[in-house]
């Protein structure tokens, strides 16, 4: 088949490029990262246009969430590259003297990055930064559900980066399948659990190491905050992290809120006021909120709202415009816990508010559910914070803000359990595309004759002492002053 042959010949080219050693050179890696920086700065308008077309994202949202963080990440990689590439010394005990040991990072080879549709530039290029910094050749498969972005990625990467080592292969599930049939040295996948399983099954055939970045229901606990400044900031951050980020279609978006019953009415009032001031009377016209990606997801979200008990729990919003694929920011209070909106990852602008008797009860609720990519808590209670960190498990825990962990380079970004495995961002991106090779060197001097057969009790005794690092004993035995 023509398509398959072209694919294979493209991959052969990548493999040959990798084998030539060029991608391992620091100068090559730097040149590609700098080229990526130029791409982001010079093609900013094209990127904004594509995101507007695919997702209705406002250019500032696009910069704040995708282009900006990418520029930051590339600069961070450029700054850290030399150090990341260098060998790290490892400590050896005296018993191994004379010897030297180090950890030498090396690229895995030819990597495949499969990206998602909601942050088509961010989620494609952040892993790419890591793959390039680590010295690999890469194929990027952007999501076909964001076609304008996929196209801009393909064109710009082709223009700015080294085509013999970095390729973009566009297409839908059938291209995805063909790619998965090839042999990769690493696969980095962002998307849904369902597709992750398909990718993982394919990876198993070639023993390909894989990283999967999935999603989940990220809860936000809102404690009673005494200061009105704190309340105001909390509302802004919550709303920005839900409706202001790809209309809630983000793996780290706040999925639902947990709040004490006595505070919930106040919370709803504050949220309503903030929604108005942030997104305006007519967010659809103002373009302060993005669109739902397509009709499938729109119907999925509509179904969630139509469930019995859920519609009745709406306290704000609820209006839908299918033609414009637009959903108004919608607040729900205590929808049934068994309803779809509380079981599946919402990935849309519906915000359920679940009330609890006391704030500590939220910990049990979170523990009873599958682990999430992030747990958010807006609180000034230090004891509660500690309890939350040590009693729950999640990809990450963020206090008094949301989404922002995405731009923290020194913190690993990734899931645990049902929300994925593996981590990236900052140096973790470099590490996820590297193999850390253990290298030890010994000298021919000082050979321990008791290492070798034929075995006898004296040798055994020496070994026992050696393993206890009891050097005095070793000397005594060797000198014949201690009986074995």
């Amino acid at each position: 088949m023509d398509c398959k042959e072209t694919l294979e010949s493209e991959l052969n080219e990548l493999r040959n490029t990798f084998n030539s050693g060029i991608t391992k050179q620091e100068s090559w890696r730097r040149s590609q990262l700098k080229a990526l920086l130029s791409l982001l700065e010079e093609k900013e308008d094209d990127i904004f246009k594509a995101l507007q077309q695919d997702l209705g994202k406002h250019r500032i949202e696009a910069f704040r969430d995708e282009v900006g963080p990418l520029i930051k990440s590339v600069n961070y990689a450029l700054k850290g590259l030399k150090q990341w590439m260098s060998s790290k010394k490892a400590d050896l005990p005296i018993a191994a003297f004379p010897a030297r040991a180090e950890l030498v990072p090396e690229p895995l080879g030819v990597a495949l990055v499969i990206s998602s549709w909601n942050f088509p530039f961010g989620v494609s290029l952040e892993p790419l930064v890591g793959a390039i910094a680590a010295g690999n050749a890469v194929v990027l498969k952007p999501s076909e559900l964001a076609p304008a972005s996929s196209s801009v990625l393909a064109n710009t990467i082709h223009t700015y980066l080294d085509n013999k080592a970095i390729k973009v292969i566009q297409g839908g599930p059938s291209i995805g399948q063909k790619l998965l049939q090839q042999k990769w040295d690493k696969i980095f996948f962002t998307g849904s659990a369902k597709v992750a399983r398909i990718v993982m099954t394919a990876a198993a055939i070639n023993l390909t190491p894989i990283t999967v970045e999935l999603g989940g229901k990220c809860p936000a606990i809102v404690d009673s905050l005494s200061s009105s400044w704190d309340k105001e900031i909390a509302m802004k951050r919550i709303l920005a992290a839900k409706f202001g980020t790809c209309a809630g279609q983000a793996c780290i978006a706040i999925d639902y809120i947990l709040v004490e019953k006595k505070f919930s009415a106040t919370l709803v009032k504050l949220l309503k006021a903030s929604i108005l001031s942030m997104f305006g009377e007519n967010p659809k016209e103002l373009n302060s909120i993005g669109r739902i990606i397509n009709n499938n997801h729109f119907s999925r979200l509509r179904k969630l709202l139509d469930e019995p008990g859920v519609k009745a729990s709406i306290v704000h919003g609820g209006s839908l415009d299918e033609d414009a694929l637009f959903m108004e920011p919608t607040l729900l209070v205590d929808p049934p816990l068994k309803s779809g909106v509380m079981i599946e990852e919402i990935f849309g602008p519906l915000l359920p508010i679940i009330t609890v008797e006391k704030i500590e009860d939220s910990i049990e609720i979170i523990k009873s559910r599958p682990r999430a990519l992030a747990i958010y808590a807006f609180t000034n209670n230090e004891n509660f914070k500690k309890k939350l960190v040590y009693e729950t498990s999640s990809g990450s825990v963020i206090f008094n803000d949301a989404i922002i962990q995405y731009v923290a380079d020194s913190l690993p970004f990734g899931g645990v359990g049902e929300c994925g495995f593996g981590k990236y961002h900052g140096k973790f991106s470099f590490d996820v595309f590297s193999h850390e090779k253990a290298v030890a060197r010994r000298s021919f001097l000082l050979d321990f004759w008791f290492r070798y057969p034929p075995w006898n009790d004296k040798k055994l005794q020496l070994f026992r002492s050696a393993y206890r690092f009891n050097y005095l004993e070793i000397i005594l035995i060797l000198l014949g002053l201690k009986k074995s």
């Binding site: 700065e41 825990v397 963020i398 008094n400 962990q405 359990g417 030890a440 070798y452 055994l460 393993y467």
Partner: protein, 520 residues
Amino acid sequence: MALDMEGMMKELRETYASGKTKSYEWRISQLRALLKIADHHDKEITEALRCDLNKPELESFVYEIASMKSSCQLALKQLKRWMKPEKAKTSLTTFPSSGQIVSEPLGVVLVISAWNFPFLLSLDPVIGAITAGNVVVLKPSEIAPATSALLSKLLGEYMDTSAVKVVEGAVDETTALLEQKWDKIFFTGNGKVGRIVLTAAVKHLTPVALELGGKSPVVVDKNINLKVAARRIIAGKWGCNNGQACVSPDYMITTKDYASQLLDVLRSELETFYGKDPLKSEDLSRIVNSNHFLRLTNLLDDEKVSGKIVHGGQRDKTNLKIAPTILLDVPQDSLIMNEEIFGPLLPILTVNKIEDSIDVINAREKPLAAYLFTNDKRIKEEFIRNVSTGGLLVNDTILHVAEHSLPFGGVGESGMGAYHGKFSFDAFSHKKAVLQRSFAGDVPARYPPYTPGKLRFLKALLNGDVVGLIRALIGCPTRLEKEKKSSIRKSKSPLGNPSGQPKQSFGPHGHCYRIQKLMR
């Protein structure tokens, strides 16, 4: 006796949910219990290993018991430090904030062990699982039945059985275990079963570590202390479970003109170690079972290599023994060069110059270990730079595995993930990012309604550009914006700014202009 798998998993999950395995005290108590097992039962352990593998007592001590104890002792000493959260330096982008990386256990983990170092390869990963605070099920290899039974008995007696369990058995039991939901699977064995484990892990998206094997090459250059080199190679090959180790030197590469000298020394040292009749030596492990014995004798009887045996080749079917055997210049397409040998056969390939060995190695799948004997600095560096392998040791064999500050694991076909020392703790932990933000120092630029001023601010913030931040705050356009504006202006009026006309002040640009005027 049918194992109640569901009941066992329920108990394990409840134990984990209770939180007891997370406590420092619990982890220490379990590590101490493991140490007691090694100290009080070393005779039974070496007996079981003699029974399963005819392993010499010293090998059992050095490679299994002492190694395991050393892992335990390191963990006991370092655990408090490993459990401490790591501070993560946060930058201007999230200012003001503080970050931490907190290690937490993954939950309920499965360790599947191998037959060749059945004691060590079972307990070393279990030590990692326990130090990280997990609940663990160990499935020892049924091909080393005496050790498997002993592990089940001793762990049952000494460990907290609500959290640490041993499930013995073969294919059926392993399959049933793989169908359960695990938070991590740690597998040591061959690539074929590794693939089965990885495929089973898909159902619950379970992260997996695979410690596999491969053909670990040993390259021997000239101008070295040949006697010491030969001894170290022999100790690593035949002195370590008789070649049945994932890091055994599998095959050797040397130059054509050095081969005969190397061979002579190997032969004489082999005789020193194992005597004139190695089949009678008590210091050589036997082949583990008749399946593997048949597999190895087939490799020797392959017509492509049968004429290439230059030393050894003797076998004793009854006692499952094969003498240390060396073959010279076997063809690349022979059976022996296309599977992991895992036995006492050492093929030697010869090349014209030693650098050619790099291409020979890179033409094959990445091995778990690669060994190089040389005093030539240039060759050392070229080798280290160009050979991709799990671990690399210069001028010795095997020893790097005993070093806890080095990660032990493969790459490509030889595996994924690493352990030993703190790497074991990390292999069974989730590194949770914790970010604390304050309500003070809010950046309104993040929120809608969106304005060009906000965009400018965000650009400077995400670039860590303090000057840019200040400029944005007072409303100065960025260099790029100025360039864009000037290119638009240039295209609009090719003659430039007509003289006499005052410069228009475009909002913030004009503002900046005014401030600059004030500052002059």
